[in-house]
Structure formats: structure tokens, C-alpha cells
Amino acid sequence: MATPETKQIDELGISKDYQYGFHDDVKPTFKSRKGLDEEVINQMCDIKEEPDWMREYRLKAYEIFKQKPMTKWGGDLSQLDFDDIYYYVKASDRSERSWDDVPDDIKKTFDRLGIPEAERKFLAGVGAQYDSEVVYHNIVEELDKIGVVFLDTDTALKEYPDLIKEYFGTIIPSADNQFAALNSAVWSGGSFVYVPPGVKVEYPLQAYFRINSENMGQFERTLIIADEGSQVHYVEGCTAPTYSSESLHSAVVEIVCKKGSRVRYTTIQNWAGNVYNLVTKRAMAYQDAQMEWVDGNLGSKLTMKYPSVYMMEPGARGEILSIAFASKGQHQDAGAKVYHCAPHTTSQITSKSISKDGGRSSYRGWVDVAKGAKGCKSHVVCDALILDKESRSDTYPVIEIAENDTKIEHEAHVSKIGEEQLFYLMSRGLSEEEASTMIVNGFIEPLVKELPMEYAVEMNRLIQLQMEGSVG
């Protein structure tokens, strides 16, 4: 059994499970042909050696996907060609791309962000192997001691089939929307996290450290289960532009917040300008549980993403903080949805968007209070900053209230960078660009301060790059 490679891995003390799809350079690589049909899905299930129920689940989702009409609201999807996409690319295949193929502006951005060499290659999709696997392994070992499971979803399906089967698709059913159906049919990678009752994970779990490059894939599927009274912060993405030759990213993230638990899910994503980023994220929060989404969207051609919280039992709370930066040729259709399904539940939505160089940002929000859900409170604040005349910002708030005894507040502000603000800062020695960057960073500061330190620093630098117009 001991090929030189596995021996090396044994010496590092890395569980062999993590070889899966990685160090297997000898295994023939696989890339499905373009387009989607039952055969592609079946092939994928065969290679992944998935249980029958998952195969059926995928095929059924595919049927639903076929029947769904093209999404007409949100952004312009008319250029999206489902037949021109590879739906399954095995991780090792991605390593075939060479560093030389990575566009110069992306490389320059890596430089500016100070991303280490090894990580750059990984982020650019060049290397399937990522040097932080040892870091990851140590984290997993620590987590193991307190009973926390943190795996890629493919591995989790093998190791924790019962947990997956119990929860998979229960928060976001395949029929929820066109892209949830597509993801359910062809998902790969993503994270699975289980936190046992009463366990508080002290540090953020970072998808960043995950060794599986499929994790950064197009159709990742994440499932987080926070058991009663537990606490966890999950961080995905990174501020470096995520370079992908594929034009569609359509993830599904499901979160279960059981009684008294607290989950925070932070995303910072900066997609390349050719990407359609169409993501469904939803959490169900039970009694006194608290769910927080912190969602930062930069880059992409079109992002449609509205993290949502269903408050199922009294005392549940949902909070969504969303930042969107739309630059040239970009449309950020982002927002949030909260459903007050039980009495005495509270929610807060804060959305901050910036539009520049003809970029368009839209806030799309939904606040729903069910009949009988008395004493609910919801507070929505949307602030938009428009940097020039070519750019655009819209808000599409929907409020559906079937219960009189509720308190809903909605505030929206649109502002431009004021001449007086610029003059004030310039009179202190800042150039016009530095001054506007400072004003934009100040504008999103209320959200950035919620990010883990290193992400906050990168976020500010990224805004700086966006303001220089050197990215995207």
C-alpha cells in the first residue's frame, strides 16, 4: 500500500482521508463534458462513490431544474449558457492550468495584498495542493477533541452519512429556486460542520485553510449544524480575487441553529469579472438561537445573493450585514430575507452598497411576519453610496406582515461623496483618490469592524484597489 507519497503523508501524521482527490496525481483525472444530463450526474456519482440516496436526490433535483423557467428577476441572466459549462471537474484536473495562464491583473492584486506564493497558486486555481494542509490538520485535531466535525461535504457524506441524510436539503429544498435545484443536482465540495451541544468554538473556522481545491469550486454545498447551546463562527472566501475559468458559481449554504445556539457565517468574496455568482444561503433558528450573516460581495459580473434567516421559535434572532461593491460592468443584486415565523423574534438587516464606474448595486430585501407571530421586531437599514453619475443604486424592499402586533422599521439612505468631505480631507494632504477611498472605507466601517482582524485589513486594502480601478 505504501506508495512513496502515502508514506510521506503518514509521516506528516495526516489522516489518509485527506488524500482523497488530492495527492492522487497518478489517478486519471476527470472532467465531465460540457453541459448537463443524467449521464453526467451518474458519472459523477460513480466517481465519488456516493450512496444511492444521494444519486436519486441529484437526479430528482435535475428533473426540477429542467422544469424551472429561467430566473427573470434580479439581474440579467440572458448571457448565461447552461450548455457551455463543465459541471464536474475533479480537483486534480485543475492543477493543469499553469501560473502563466493567470491574468496579470490578478497576479498584481496578489502582490498588493501580500498573499504568500503558495496561497496565490491555490487561489488562482493553479495548484491543487495547498501548503496549509498541516495547519488544517492541526485545527481538525483540536476540533476533534471537543467533538466538532469540520470536513468537506464529500468526505462528510462518507463519514457521517446519517447526519447528512437527516439535514441535507431540509433548509433549502431542491425546488426552492432554479439555482438551488442546479446545485442539488451537481454539488461538489463545500464544508460540513457539526458542533455538539454546549460546545463553543473559540476561533473562527476558516474554509480558507481547507485543503480541497474543490472547496473553491463552482457548486459547493455547505451544511452547518449548531446543536443546542453551541457557538461557532465560520468564515469563507478570501479577499483575493477568486480566479476561475468557469463562469458560474452557484453555491448552497444551509444552517441549522438549534435552541440557544449562536452561529455567525462570514463571507468575503471577490470574484473575477466574468463570473455569475448565484448563491442561496439560509438558516433556521430555533428557540433563543441567534444567526448572523456577514456577507461581503465584490467583483463578479452578476451576484444574486440574499442570505436569509427563518426564525422558527420564540426568542430567535436573525442578523444580516451585507456589503456590496459594484464596479464597472458589475451588478451586485444583494440583500437579505428574514421570516418571523414565531412570536417575539427579532431581526436586523444592515446593507451597505457602493457603486462606481457605471456599476450597479441593488438591495433586495424581504421581511415577513407570519400571522400570530406577535411582538416581533425588525429593523432594516440600507445605505447606498454612489461615486459617480454613471453608477446606479436601487432598493427593492418587500414587507409582508400578517400580524398587527409587530414593530418594523425600514430606513434607506442614498448618498454621494460630498465635495465638502473631499475638500476637508484634501486640505489635510490627502489626494482626491486617497480622500474618496477613506470616505468609502468609513462608509463600510460599521460592517468591517465585525470581520476577523485579518479580513478587515484585507477588506480595506481591497477597497483601496477597487478605488484605483486596478482590479476587476
Binding site: F423, R428, L430, S431, E432, T437, M438
Partner: protein, 263 residues
């Protein structure tokens, strides 16, 4: 050689209305000038025009800083040369802490200042913190002040102190103080007055704009000028402030045949 700011026959208009109409003055490092004038006489227009505000149109005249014509320069270039304006109404920049802002501003303006806000373009954090803390203590402001968002929700007094803190940190050569005493209670005027007076020296020349002479009790100007109808109509020494206090602007208006404009 001391640096000077020399203004020659300056005309400034706002929205096509001439406000400053033939203004002449020279302020050297080490000198303290007071510019007094009633409300609406054009004091702030002059101050912002000198600093390079884009909506204040310079119709004619010259503004020379240390031998260089600065009229074509952006505000930030003027600041880098060593010109400073303490605003009558400072602008709030929400989300930007006073300390963060000041570190970038100090790095950009001090004589060997570099450009940019990358960590290595900035003055070392430790050095900066120490200096900031000292200067805040001198101004009687709490340490927590540095973490507050710039002018955001500041009281009138806090804003003016923040302006003087910036003056102290940026170390300009010539500073224009636009009604730094207005809106302050007596104690605050004293603190601000003493701080400015502490900064005045051979390295700093000051033009104090005011319409009450209160601040001047703490900083004695060598030169006092009276602005009426967009130009200086009288110049003199300290005694001019006394005359003003006793008689107001009316006798001067009469003397120069200027009608009182109702604001």
C-alpha cells in the same frame, strides 16, 4: 529664511457673485495676524479660496507661498507645502477614526512625508501614538477622542479642539484659523487660545479670523486687519481691536462709504 504667504489683489466669487474684491496681505512664519470683519464679510470665502476649495472661483490676483504661485494647485498640494486651514464648520467623515485619519494626514504633510496609506508609507505607529497622546493631553481631550469618528457627532467645542489638534499634529508653516473661537464657552476659548499660543513661534505664522476679539486675549496679534466688503479697509496693531470693541464696525463703514449688508 522665513516662509511667507503673500496675497495680491485677490478676487474671489461664489456662484458668480464677487465676494472677495481686491485683497492684499502677507503673513510670514513667526507672525500673528488677526483678520476681523462682520458676519458675511467674506472671511470664510477668503480662507477656503486660499486653501483651494473647488467651488470658490479665483477671478484674478495672486497667492504666493514661499515664492511659489499656488493658485493652480489642489488643496492637498497646498497642504503639503505647509498651508493649513482650521475650518469654521468642519465636515464629518463617518466611520473614519480621528487617529487613523491623522496618521495618514501627518504622513502626507510633514516635510519628508510620503504618499499613500500602505503601512510602510506611514509614520511609525508607536511614534505617532505617543505624539498624539501628548498633544491630546495638552488640549485637554480624553484618549478616547482618538477613536471617535472624525467630527461625527462632535459638539461645537470638540470640533474646534479637533481642528487645533490637527494643527498641532500637521506642523504647518502658515495656518489660517477660521473663527476657531466661535461656539466655544469661556473655558474652551481659554484652552484653545492657550494651545494655539503655545504653537505660535518662529516656525509658524498664523492668520486668525474672528469677529469677536475673545481669542485674541490669549494670542496677541502683531497685526490687526479689518475686512469689509471683500477687502481690507484698515490695518493696524492691537489698538484696532480696542477701537472695534468700543465702537463696532459702523464708524469704519461710514469712513469708507460702505453700506451695511443685511445677511
Amino acid at each position: 529664511m522665513s516662509i511667507d504667504l503673500t496675497i495680491k489683489d485677490l478676487h474671489i466669487s461664489v456662484d458668480g457673485n464677487p465676494i472677495i474684491k481686491g485683497f492684499n496681505l502677507s503673513v510670514k512664519q513667526g507672525e500673528v495676524h488677526a483678520l476681523m470683519g462682520p458676519n458675511g464679510s467674506g472671511k470664510s470665502t477668503l480662507a477656503k479660496g486660499l486653501m483651494g476649495h473647488p467651488s470658490y472661483d479665483i477671478d484674478s490676483g495672486e497667492v504666493i507661498f514661499n515664492g511659489v504661485d499656488i493658485l493652480e494647485m489642489e488643496a492637498n498640494e497646498r497642504a503639503k507645502l505647509g498651508l493649513f486651514l482650521a475650518f469654521q464648520y468642519p465636515t464629518a467623515i463617518p466611520g473614519v477614526s480621528l487617529a487613523n485619519f491623522l496618521r495618514i494626514a501627518v504622513s502626507a504633510t510633514r516635510s519628508n512625508g510620503t504618499n499613500g496609506s500602505e503601512e510602510n508609507d506611514l509614520i511609525p505607529m508607536r511614534e505617532f501614538r505617543k505624539e498624539l497622546r501628548e498633544k491630546m493631553a495638552q488640549l485637554g481631550v480624553d484618549d478616547s477622542f482618538a477613536r471617535r469618528y472624525l467630527n461625527d457627532g462632535f459638539s461645537g467645542g470638540e470640533m474646534k479642539r479637533a481642528e487645533i489638534l490637527q494643527l498641532a499634529m500637521l506642523e504647518p508653516k502658515i495656518a489660517i484659523l477660521d473663527e476657531t473661537d466661535s461656539g466655544l464657552d469661556i473655558d474652551a476659548v481659554r484652552i484653545v487660545g492657550e494651545s494655539v499660543s503655545g504653537l505660535v513661534g518662529p516656525e509658524l505664522g498664523v492668520l486668525i479670523i474672528t469677529h469677536y476679539p475673545r481669542l485674541l486675549d490669549y494670542i496677541r496679534p502683531q497685526f490687526v486687519h479689518i475686512l469689509l466688503d471683500g477687502r481690507i479697509v484698515e490695518s493696524g496693531g492691537w489698538e484696532l481691536t480696542q477701537t472695534l470693541e468700543e465702537e463696532g464696525y459702523d464708524p469704519i463703514r461710514e469712513k469708507h462709504g460702505i453700506a451695511e449688508t443685511v445677511q
